[in-house]
Symmetry: C2
Subunit: 126 residues, 2 copies
Amino acid sequence: MPARHIIAKELAGLFGVLSHPDRLRIVEELRGGERDVNSLQELLGVSHSRTSQNLAVLRLNRVVIERRDGRHVFYRLEQPELAAWILDGVRFLEQGSARAEATRSAIAVVRQIWGQPEKPATRKRR
Amino acid sequence: MPARHIIAKELAGLFGVLSHPDRLRIVEELRGGERDVNSLQELLGVSHSRTSQNLAVLRLNRVVIERRDGRHVFYRLEQPELAAWILDGVRFLEQGSARAEATRSAIAVVRQIWGQPEKPATRKRR
DNA sequence: TTCATATATTCACGAATATGAATATATATA
DNA sequence: TATATATATTCATATTCGTGAATATATGAA
């Protein structure tokens, strides 16, 4: 199989993994370091199982790595630069006049929020 | 709706559009300039309608723009830098020891193939 | 003009895949 | 043990995919 077929397929897989709002937000929330599932669930405001399932997708595709500590499981980015690369892709949302103004201003906000490393919150360790 | 929700959703949409091998290859093949549907179909080695349908997805999501000329429809990237950004993302495939050696060498090849602008082939114009 | 051809898009269908919600199971800690 | 936490499984639904047929649309020839 030609190299470009292999890579196109694998890249498409990576894009597929990232083509979900929850999972994108998880990646961005992990940009500053590891977090446990509960902490992520609260940040996302979705159900526990949904968080866990999306983390499983990310883990199976080697986007995140887990570290168990007591009854907590902490997740972190396997390749922290991934978060910056994703954020960089936001510029392609600005295109086109058809794009809503709401989106354009949201981009500015998100660049503030996601654009700088953040010290992980409430990291309960034991 | 918080900015990060909006952006996560839109970004996820973009990733979804790009989460298909054919569409990724189309974007990369267009890095050097416009091509008509037939030319793309031959490059990809897939059916005509499949090519056209994937172009429609890219078009509806403002990734590509069409230009009609006679009986040909030429497509080009709306934001040419998109191809470079995607190629940049290839580095995240190198990760992890579980990754097959075949992939690693394919990455090198693809960086050669996609890494430099290419002069569009056989552009039949009238 | 009419007809044949080349090009591109759209449609309909079944197959495959993804998704979300709910539940069940497993594990670690107290 | 009981409880909190995390993962796995199941199921119903929704979405996406690929193919082949049908439908434009444009061009050139008769």
